[in-house]
Amino acid sequence: MTPLLDVRDLQIELVTAHGVVRAVDGVSFTVGRGETVTLIGESGSGKSTTAMGVLRLLPEGLAVLSGSVRIGGRDVLTDPGAARAVRGRTVSLIPQDPMTALSPVHTIGRQLGDAIRLRHPELSRAQARERGVDLLGQVRISRPETRWTSYPHQFSGGMLQRILIAIALAGDPELLVADEPTSALDATVQADVLDLLMELQERTGIGMLMITHDLGVARLVSDRIHVMKDGRFVESGPAGQIVERPAEPYTRDLLAAVPRLGAWDEDGTAIEGAIP
């Protein structure tokens, strides 16, 4: 079966003030239906550039891409028209910072409604609203019908991220690209958003390309993990293998750098005399 996303030997060169930088140096990976594939790395590893390149969201003229990127079978590198055609339909982006991703001067309903009508121009405003309220309910916004006319500043960061997920879902995508979707959120809020994404995937079989620097997040949500450094994959494999049996020194160093939490009594039934 054709994967939703098929990236082969992707290279991205960025034109900067200091010359041309090869930010992504020949990476290949796929994302299939119902799968979550994660690119993990530290600042400057090229993970976000890869995601933005796949979506053709890097500034034309300042980014040179080569290799091949197929989304739903369509090559978006050779055909910019294909990239425009799949964005917001076959594939949607969940951005990193929910506080700045929405327009502060338009209501949530207007922004979600626009996204819905972009995909379904045949819908009336009222029909788009009906569908939007349903989407807000799906991303666990309580009493969504009353929030339609609210502005972004009236929501918390976690709620805004869920609204952005609703907007991403507006085009009935088969693939979500999530660029550090929970990095700006508190731990308990992050847990809610990750849980929502996993539930959504279980229900709809949507594929996900996750970008994160957080090994805990990667381990939780991923089927496969690619560890990225200096524009290349240093190690790739199933999530459990990468965390439990890392082969590469760099992966081991990354894991060793994560502060350990130690065991805990999750059920609240303290065991007398247990060895800590």
């Binding site: 731990a187 847990a191 459990g240 965390v243 350990r260 939490l261 800590p276």
Partner: protein, 270 residues
């Protein structure tokens, strides 16, 4: 021996609808050379608490007893000589250093304020401090824009150490850093504590950082302390529902097992 005792501390911000109590009757003790962490999520009041402890804010009521002197509401004139004893490392390494000054000048500034009048002596001490935090001599004449986030945070630590404080308040000092850089900065802080016997008050939301950097912990929610105790005990068997939610939401990659385990909690109790 108790170095810093905080008792019944209340900090309020004025708002249009009346005062907002950001810190509500908080109390704890930090011993000389000890490490205490204050943990909680955005808006719980932990950064306000940090700012009150270094008296960037004046509390409404309560006591901050530093080595026997209550500094909670001490007027600036009397506070000044005590300020050098409690220093702070800020969260944002990009916003907390003057971009016009060289690293050496940044670190020399508190020395000048502390009465080291000889310029050459200040420069020498600043160079020493930068060396202590692991920056090369070539760093001295460079400005913040030339440094990475981790290097800037080292400059911030050197600046805080310049006045030889007894307490260092680290307000999310590593949360803006990559995990490998965070590990380096945490290791540096531990080494400095071993060398100098400085006490740490670590403000953090990352429970892993809390475990590495503290022997005791205070958990805050909505301005109040909901749980306190030895770090190992609180993390191994959290008693308060909110602490449990925090603990459950903290993702230690090596503690997650299975394929897509979906081991995510319901979130904070409301």
């Amino acid at each position: 021996m108790t170095l810093l005792a905080v008792e019944d501390l209340v900090v309020e911000y004025p708002t249009r609808s009346g005062p907002f109590r950001a810190v509500d009757r908080v109390g704890f003790r930090l011993r000389k050379g000890g490490s205490l962490a204050v943990v909680g999520e955005s808006g719980c009041g932990k950064s306000t608490l940090a700012r009150a402890l270094v008296r960037l804010l004046t509390p409404k009521s309560g006591r901050i007893v530093l080595d026997g002197t209550d500094i909670a509401t001490l007027p600036e004139r009397k506070l000044r000589p005590l300020r050098r004893r409690v220093q702070m490392v800020f969260q944002d390494p990009y916003g907390s250093l003057d971009p016009h000054l060289t690293a050496q000048q940044i670190v020399a500034e508190p020395l000048r304020l502390g009465g080291v009048s000889d310029r050459a002596e200040r420069a020498r001490r600043a160079a020493e401090l930068l060396d202590q935090v692991g920056l090369p001599p070539s760093a001295l004449q460079r400005r913040p824009a030339d440094f990475s986030g981790g290097q800037r945070q080292r400059i911030g630590i050197a600046r805080a150490l310049a006045s030889r404080p007894d307490v260092l308040v680290c307000d999310e000092a590593t949360s803006a850093l990559d995990v490998s850089v965070q590990a380096q900065v945490l290791a540096l802080l531990r080494e400095l504590q071993e060398e100098t016997g400085i006490a740490y008050l670590v403000i953090a939301h990352n429970l892993g950082v809390v475990r590495e950097m503290s022997t005791d912990v205070v958990v805050m929610r909505a301005g109040r302390v909901v749980e306190a105790g030895p770090t190992e005990t609180v993390l191994a068997a959290p008693a308060d529902p909110y602490t449990r939610a925090l603990r459950r939401a903290a993702l230690d990659p090596t503690a997650i097992h299975g394929v897509k385990p979906r081991r995510v909690p319901e979130g904070s109790p409301s």
